[in-house]
């Protein structure tokens, strides 16, 4: 059954499906586009406020037009959305109330006004109000041909504006103070950008509903930000994520008639966010691997060093032979970590496993000597260039020996005037 409806949906035989998909593409692209700038300007929750404030506007538009006339509804929504932003700004500027509380006040007040108007329409109005409550939760299936044309128009207005003002928007998003100082009309552009945001939200409510439309502004941008530092790529990724979840969400709501579209779009969008949290370039997975790798490196180097300290000095010309017991006696190793480290070192050909003991190879000996040299270099550096006492230099060196690069090594040698120690004298 699900396959049948999938085929029905994605073959686009049903013109309604075409309208829905086209509508979703325009709505979600607009929202992701303005959302990216909203996110970069740290104004995500303003979108939240605007979306709730659209409800009274829609009701007023309905009362004014007397029927469910999309342009009238969107105009009403646009106006109240704008008033809400103005009010938040006013409250923050003129009183001690902080922005988040101001948003809370405006959200709930406007929403309450919307609810009052909605119940007023339902109880006192004529019979045309059917479907007005779709704006609460979104019903993408209700998108008609005329709506699509309207959405496309709005999308191209937003796209055109963003392309035209791109340079200014970039500067404003990343460094508003600088933008002001080079004479960009900051206030005008902010006003303009806010208007675009309100517009994008206003066309989105039909598909997503007032409560969840803010997700369409916030979530794609925040998710895209995890993948890239590049603004154009970020916009692109945000739009792709948004369109994908929009279509997937309306598909789910297409298969089951009673399913509202908005919640599904949001859930799919959030799933993508969670996947990104784990997989993205700076995500949890990579962080975990980097930390693991670093831990292993430190562990292995400590093992090599300990072996060398054990035997390397007394019989410098031989490759030292040792057992794990000797190692743990010399230094407190965690047995599990020691075993894993030894295995890795064998693989890297730094030590060899003989029947009942281990032996350092020549390469391993060299590596161990290098680490000890770094350790001593740093100790010397601390002793000569800082006032740290001789008793205390060891612990600092113990930490830093693992991260000194060859360049820093050279620099240290030069600084200490022991340039050119022949390699065999390590």
């Amino acid at each position: 059954m699900i396959w049948q409806s999938a085929i029905d949906f994605f073959s686009f035989k049903d013109p309604n499906v075409v309208y829905v998909v086209a509508g979703i593409i325009f709505i979600n692209s607009s929202a992701a586009l303005v959302g990216t700038f909203a996110y970069l300007r740290k104004r995500s929750l303003l979108a939240d406020a605007v979306s709730h404030a659209l409800l009274p506007g829609i009701c007023l538009g309905f009362l004014f037009a007397g029927e469910k006339n999309m342009p009238a509804l969107i105009t009403g929504a646009f106006i109240t959305g704008w008033i809400s932003i103005f009010l938040i700004d006013l409250i923050v500027r003129k009183s001690r109330i902080k922005q988040d509380a101001a948003i809370g006040i405006v959200i709930s007040f406007f929403f309450a006004v919307g609810i009052v108007l909605l119940t007023y329409i339902q109880k006192n109005g004529n019979g045309n109000h059917a479907g007005l409550d779709h704006f609460l939760f979104g019903q993408a299936a209700a998108i008609s041909k005329n709506d699509v044309i309207l959405f496309a128009l709005v999308f191209f207005i937003i796209l055109f504006a963003v392309v035209l003002l791109f340079k200014n928007l970039v500067i404003l998003s990343f460094n508003p103070d600088f933008a002001q100082s080079v004479g960009i009309p900051v206030r005008f552009i902010e006003f303009f950008l806010t208007s675009l945001t309100v517009l994008a939200i206003a066309i989105g409510i039909q598909a997503l509903g007032v409560v969840l439309i803010s997700a369409l502004i916030i979530t794609p941008a925040a998710t895209a930000r995890m993948w890239t530092h590049h603004l154009k790529k970020m916009i692109f990724i945000a739009i792709v994520i948004s369109i994908f979840s929009g279509i997937a969400g309306s598909f789910v709501s297409y298969t089951r008639a009673q399913m509202p579209t908005g919640p599904w779009v949001v859930v799919i969008l959030s799933l993508i966010t969670f996947v990104s949290v784990v997989m993205a370039p700076k995500g949890l997975l990579r962080k975990f691997f980097i930390r693991k790798k670093n831990e292993n490196k430190i562990n292995d180097e400590n093992i090599l060093k300990t072996i060398f300290e054990l035997k390397g000095f007394s019989e410098p010309e031989k490759n030292p032979i040792f057992s794990t017991l000797e190692l743990t006696e010399k230094r407190m190793f965690d047995t599990k970590k020691l075993d894993a480290g030894l295995k890795r070192l064998i693989r890297r050909n730094f030590i060899q496993h003989k029947e009942d003991h281990f032996q350092l190879t020549t390469a391993g000996k060299k590596e161990a000597a290098r680490i000890i040299k770094l350790h001593r270099l740093w100790e010397q550096y601390l002793l000569k260039r800082t006032r740290i006492d001789a008793d205390h230099v060891h612990s600092g060196a113990e930490a830093i020996e693992h991260i000194i690069t060859p360049e820093i090594e050279k620099e240290l040698e030069r600084e200490l005037g022991i340039e050119g120690i022949p390699e065999e004298d390590y």
Partner: protein
């Protein structure tokens, strides 16, 4: 008599929200309250599905878990993943709310107790259908009122007992930390109280409008006074006033009762805001005048 019970229930909601909301406002966490109030939805729906009845403690437990999950998720997004704090709030509450809506569509088909609209704006006029009768005929008020009463007792007692702690974390968290107070314990205590209030107020006022009760009266009080105790008193009084005036206006205009209550709270806030502006303008003018006099 029914009017009286509805108003009394709403007054209790208003008092609970005003008291807790004041601390949220001072801690600059008004939007976290907003997020929690949306986020309890999936917890309520799941608990309702399994317990099968509205009065169960399971609902309270489920919703509290969901509410705390929301706070943790916000912390996770903003601290571990380094998403901006407000975006983290937005992502979290839209997700949990969406999950709740889907669960309602899946599990609650044709169920009259929880539907999508009542989730948003509640229906206080219906609370009288769920009555408590003693000996089958002595009517002593709707169940929701008693639930609210218990919640009020818990909230007020907790605030009285923990007043010092709450006051400290509201005004100077760093200082509180430095003298060795476990601020995060108080923080989660406060959040648990907020969740509790949200849950019990849920069926009465709905998820979004409860934010109005949480934020607007405290903000109004915050405009008027700078002291904590007067702020608590004033915000509770503001809440009560908007509840009563909102109720009668709504009946008169035949519109949503809770909606009208929040509208009245907002109107009251706007009124105080404008007066404050005019007053500060006046003081500025008179200060300038004084200065002129002194110069002469």
């Amino acid at each position: 008599m029914n009017d009286f019970f509805i108003i009394l229930t709403a007054v209790l909601v208003a008092i609970n929200c005003a008291l807790l909301g004041s601390f949220l406002l001072l801690r600059k966490m008004a939007m976290v309250g907003d997020a929690v109030s949306h986020a309890v939805l999936p917890g309520i729906v799941i608990a309702y599905y399994f317990a099968g009845d509205k009065s169960s403690v399971f609902i309270l437990i489920g919703a509290t878990i969901a509410g705390l999950a929301a706070t943790l998720l916000i912390d996770f997004f903003s601290r571990r993943i380094k998403i901006q704090n407000d975006a983290a709030i937005g992502i979290t509450y839209t997700l949990l709310f969406a999950v709740g809506m889907i669960l309602i569509a899946l599990l609650m088909q044709g169920n009259a107790d929880i539907d999508q609209e009542c989730v948003l704006y509640g229906d206080i006029a219906l609370i009288n259908f769920d009555k408590i009768l003693i000996d089958d005929n002595l009517y002593i008020g709707p169940r929701a009122m008693y639930v609210e009463l218990v919640a009020s007792v818990i909230v007020v007692c907790s605030l009285v007992i923990g007043f010092k702690g709450f006051r400290l974390i509201s005004f100077n968290e760093d200082f509180a930390k430095s003298v060795g107070i476990k601020t995060s314990r108080w923080h989660y205590f406060l959040m648990a109280l907020v969740t509790l209030t949200t849950v019990v107020s849920f069926e009465v006022v709905g998820a979004i409008l409860v934010v109005g009760f949480l934020v607007i009266p405290p903000a109004t009080a915050f405009l008027i006074t700078r002291k904590l105790v007067p702020m608590l008193v004033i915000s509770a009084l503001t809440g009560i006033f908007s509840v009563i005036s909102g109720y009668f206006l709504a009946i008169w205009m035949n519109v949503s009762i809770t909606g009208m209550m929040v509208v009245m709270a907002g109107v009251l806030f706007g009124f105080c805001f404008i007066i404050k502006q005019l007053k500060s303008h006046k003081t500025l003018v008179s200060q300038g005048f004084d200065q002129k006099l002194r110069e002469i």
